[in-house]
Amino acid sequence: METVIHLRGAVALLGRFPALAGVDLDVAAGEIVLVRGPNGAGKTTLLRALAGLVPFTAGDATVLGHDLRRDRVRHRPRVGLLSFHGGLYDELTVADNVWFWTRAAGADQADAEAAMAVLGLDGRLAGVDVAKLSSGQRRRVALAVLLARRPELWLLDEPHAGLDNDARDLLDGLVREAATAGATVLVASHELERAGALAARQVVVSGGIVRDEETPGAA
């Protein structure tokens, strides 16, 4: 199986603080990996660094065949990051947001419409300003954007937060479908029961390093 993420002694700094202090990690295509650990352990930084938003300053870091120490930009359009912040324009409607971000990612209108339909955003909600949505609905919109982009690497930061049970089930189904289709998924979550059931593998981040890897049920 093709290796999508390869990290060896990877270091990433936030200011002068080593948020990632020598991470070793290999993830193959189609894997779903749960990234767990206490607050401040470096989970979010790990996802952001894999997306190319935070530079690796030492070690080896290859993602989707790109050496991120040399170039952390070119692989970005192939990465989907569902962050806690959402990355949506409050002044625009749901449909405008999904359409804009889909076009910006190089995908087309049909991808945006299909993603909105899957997430149940194609009805009345499509014309509602994002500023008027609940946090769970915003999460759905962000997920629709991610889905429309069709990324090869899904980086999900606390993806279940704010979602109701139906939306959580929907999200889990989408993640499994994507992995079956060959996408690689990293899920950083504190909801160990649900995210653990989703993942085939778990890694624990603590103090900026990946301390151990466990299979589900062993944690």
């Binding site: 952001r48 990051l81 990355g87 409050d90 625009l92 910006a104």
Partner: protein, 224 residues
């Protein structure tokens, strides 16, 4: 790059259309500024008519600060900057798109202000001066929009951006203010030939600001 620029410009103008900040806040402010100048400088003494070109561009620059600040704020929403960095959009295209959107808003504002100046100050360009007025407005607007977009992204990552942006931008726009005012003076005085040199200067500034902005926007988006 053109596709990216049009996508960004369309989004910014859509945000403006929905929020109506320029139409409901900036445009009325521009008219208030023009009226305050009229109150402060008695029209009967002829000072207003003589100072009209300079007052026009001072009003434009002050209102441009608000438009630029608003355009920068759009990109500072929760996670928006990261999301933009993860797209396939070229930084130069993003820059040009924001310049186009700010430029379109500024041109509309300038048209409104020009009407205000003509009505309230009893000063208007001569018939032969209109081409110079239009060309000056286009180039000065390009300068303001390009510099504003560049400094907007520079300041947008900072907590003090609201106060820092005018401080950074106004000195950079001073030569534009001078050049545009001189060109307008020539157009208003009916000697447009005297203004073409200033127009050339504005053209050089516009080119420099746009080239520097297109090159620097990407690194600034990454680092600030």
């Amino acid at each position: 790059m053109l596709r990216d620029a049009l996508l960004i410009a369309g989004r910014d103008l859509r945000v403006e259309w929905r929020s109506r900040v320029a139409t409901n806040q900036v445009a009325p402010l521009a008219l208030v500024i023009v009226m305050l100048f009229a109150f402060a400088l008695d029209p009967a003494r002829g000072i207003l008519a003589r100072a009209a070109p300079g007052l026009f561009w001072v009003a434009v620059v002050l209102c441009a600060l608000l438009i630029v600040q608003r355009a920068a704020t759009v990109e500072s929403g929760d996670g928006v900057r990261d999301a933009l960095r993860l797209t396939a959009l070229s930084p130069a295209g993003m820059f040009l798109g924001k310049v186009l959107a700010i430029g379109a808003e500024l041109l509309a504002l300038e048209a409104l202000l020009l009407v205000g100046v003509i009505v309230l100050y009893n000063a208007a360009p001569s018939t032969e001066g209109w081409p110079l007025v239009v060309a000056t407005a286009a180039l000065a607007t390009a300068c303001i929009a390009a510099a504003g977009t560049l400094y907007g992204v520079l300041a947008s990552g900072l907590r003090v951006r609201d106060t820092l942006l005018p401080l950074l931008l106004l000195p950079v726009l001073a030569p534009v203010l001078i050049g545009a005012t001189r060109a307008f003076e020539a157009a208003f005085a009916g000697v447009p030939a005297d203004g073409w040199l200033w127009l050339g200067l504005l053209g050089v500034f516009a080119l420099v600001y746009i080239v520097i902005g297109a090159l620097a926007y990407g690194p600034l988006l990454e680092e600030t």
